[in-house]
Symmetry: D2
Subunit: 277 residues, 4 copies
Amino acid sequence: MGLAMANNLIKAGYDLTVWNRSSDKCQPLVEAGAQAAASPKEVAEQCDIVLAMLADPAAALEVATGEAGIAAGMAQGKGYVDVSTVDAATAQEISRAIKSAGGEYLEAPVSGSKGPAEQGTLIFLTGGDRSLFDRAAPLLDVMGKRSFFLREVGNGAKMKLVVNMVMGNMMAAFAEGLTLAEKAGLSKQDVIDVVGLGAIAAPMFALKGPAMAQRKYATAFPLKHQQKDLRLALELGQEVQQPLPVAAAANELYLQAQSAGHGDADFSAVLEAVLQQ
Amino acid sequence: MGLAMANNLIKAGYDLTVWNRSSDKCQPLVEAGAQAAASPKEVAEQCDIVLAMLADPAAALEVATGEAGIAAGMAQGKGYVDVSTVDAATAQEISRAIKSAGGEYLEAPVSGSKGPAEQGTLIFLTGGDRSLFDRAAPLLDVMGKRSFFLREVGNGAKMKLVVNMVMGNMMAAFAEGLTLAEKAGLSKQDVIDVVGLGAIAAPMFALKGPAMAQRKYATAFPLKHQQKDLRLALELGQEVQQPLPVAAAANELYLQAQSAGHGDADFSAVLEAVLQQ
Amino acid sequence: MGLAMANNLIKAGYDLTVWNRSSDKCQPLVEAGAQAAASPKEVAEQCDIVLAMLADPAAALEVATGEAGIAAGMAQGKGYVDVSTVDAATAQEISRAIKSAGGEYLEAPVSGSKGPAEQGTLIFLTGGDRSLFDRAAPLLDVMGKRSFFLREVGNGAKMKLVVNMVMGNMMAAFAEGLTLAEKAGLSKQDVIDVVGLGAIAAPMFALKGPAMAQRKYATAFPLKHQQKDLRLALELGQEVQQPLPVAAAANELYLQAQSAGHGDADFSAVLEAVLQQ
Amino acid sequence: MGLAMANNLIKAGYDLTVWNRSSDKCQPLVEAGAQAAASPKEVAEQCDIVLAMLADPAAALEVATGEAGIAAGMAQGKGYVDVSTVDAATAQEISRAIKSAGGEYLEAPVSGSKGPAEQGTLIFLTGGDRSLFDRAAPLLDVMGKRSFFLREVGNGAKMKLVVNMVMGNMMAAFAEGLTLAEKAGLSKQDVIDVVGLGAIAAPMFALKGPAMAQRKYATAFPLKHQQKDLRLALELGQEVQQPLPVAAAANELYLQAQSAGHGDADFSAVLEAVLQQ
């Protein structure tokens, strides 16, 4: 995803300095006109705004606060925009490191996967320094179709959990609907068609429904990540003392699918858990 | 709804003979060119295809099979299309009465409410005689945007339950998302906006979300009807031995909203049950 | 069960007149001193108090209100005590028939199965005519260890549902505990032993636990009946507008066990549904 | 609880050396014949077997591994029996510290509260060094009625979670039963009486039922601790990939009771959440 996002910035005419743990991954960008740096620190030294897309909270923390990390190259007037998906606590830790070094910080996890990254239609859920958000807005507009500024650091992560919790519930509901329909003598494709015409039509149902009807689950968003997000949303509910009984029931269904070996399949494979019941 | 549907037929140039329990309700249609009949039986005697939109299964049964009912006026070559929402057992009972009288029968419950009825964008979920479906198709096309022929009588009712079960689950999931967001310090309107841009965007969320954010629930589909449909879907699950744990959890939430006095509010008032938890 | 109960009455010195659809089933009782009657009506004509133990609501209704049924032999001063398990509506229908015939009525479903019937340790959950309860008390005391008078007809049936709902939930909880323990590396027998020593020790766990640990489920109370009782308890909840989210989750688990083919096994086979998840 | 347990050991003739953060808490024991020590380390230096009862994992860790802690006074031939309730990870950390110092370790959380501690009827759920379990057995027998040796360190903690999960579920089921009964026109006391006579009779129902019927919840085991144990059991389920749908539903009910302000009441106050639904 990082590659697609960087490409869109180059195409839009921005000067890029790039770094990746595996330097050959930077090659296509260098060929397209970007400069290569030797470390995150060097990127920070040479740029006003640093963007990072990393795989998980541990990697995000290491790149931001490690020895030759971004914080080490930060200075007054510079800003760090982290578009990785990390938990609120990690985002706050990175924020402290960047701000101690004089820079500004914005967590900016994205909603959307590989396709939207290539088409420049991502959604950014940001929290942190408002002035950095304003400065980075033209860049975000190149890579995405909409950016939300949600105030404090951590709110981007929380918004992503909320939205993914709703998504996980919807997929579980859809899976129950398809299964009930089939057991009751209806066609799954008819359900998909009827759902697609009314008030509950959602792109996700149209996109994944036909493959689900054939019990095929090519992975776009792994089921184990959906289950993790449901679990984290329930933990957030615990933290703020909000019961979420429907999400709790859905979470058990995803856990069942995972324990049956579908963790690496697409999250639409929750259908397998419903079928197994 | 019946009035809006009949009006669309008149506008499309069809000759209508109309009847209503309260004869003054026919007045606007008569003024628009329809003929008034004295009973359902008389409508059946004068028309090739009879359409009915009734409030509940009891009314549908009475109008179809009562003393001066439609079956009494049926004959070979005539057909009865019942667009009311009735359960599968009632539809089968009406079917038997019509077919004993020599006619053809089509259950055709609609997906969509008053707005789509006026705009002619309803969806018909039909089951019964295929030849009647083919003959009635031009009429259904005037009143709706799509008709599904689902084979046996009862399948229209079942499809409606399946779709409404998915809808009820989605609304409960959305309500949990809005509540979790607010408790976690996010804005409900931001959730609505983010949801509206991605793979889970559904017209229902856009339509009802902003009012829900203000805890307003102007009734389009009463919560008690949504709860009833969830209950009936669970009973269908019982009948075909299909567990539906997420729907069961959602049903309890709607029941809670209903017992707290929100049964006549819009079904989006399930949010009140989540807030109360 | 009826045989064991009647035997206890004979042993206690009561004069019995007996009837059974299959007359050979009365033979042991006749040999023990009872008189045989040709119909339920004849039993009613010859006795002051008539007791009946029937398999299901349909049989109970037929024997009470059929052509040569008990109501036909009822008269002022006589009473009918029905110890069968029937729903509240059936009990009320039988009550009306008996009282129209001048008799008194008591529904008296039992808690307890074959063992307690033989040992005379059943529990009677009665509703109906208080004066009949008082007159029948010595008989109930012979067959059981305790009788409850719960006022209106229907309350016996409701109490039985409530108790069986709690029982079904407890067994599901126990099954989840055993499964979690085993997956976490503990021994199921250790769980059974620890549970048996503390505040949650219940005879049911001690009785069924060791067999469950070996996945053996010799039927004492069929799983399909437990699932039916949970379903009926949820319907009662619906009727009185009381959400029951834990019972709803347990019900789905029993439904899953049933759909996997364990309906005729003991209700402790709900463990198989947990293991399958 | 520690006081009651120590008293039982003194009464049984054991020589005790005691320490408490607040030294005045040791006074009654010193008056009864115990010697006072200045630190956990000093207790360890003077005794062969050290017992500790601490409030939470943080206190258990500090007392065991802190500067003047037990590990600092450990030596070959000595053993440490921690009867506090700590999580498996903390127990393992303490175990490593004690064993590095040459001692043996036994986690031994108790099932039972103040009453059983005074009466010497606790249940010990132990894991760790078998030889220490054998040596400590006479002491455990003085303080409790039964001790289980569950092999690895951590298993005592897991067993306690499993049992408390079953307990939390049972109490939630009982609360749903009491509420359904009352709404259906039955008496809560009758439910308590009927439950108390049959296969599901458990001391907990008899002990807490009558107070619950009056909505009184004098705290023996705080609701927030019950909710925490349900949450930890669900996390254990997550870890070993075991869905627990009934426990998940019960957990949401306790969370609801807690968010309504009943966290410090007895866990039987889950009834308030059911009543509020």
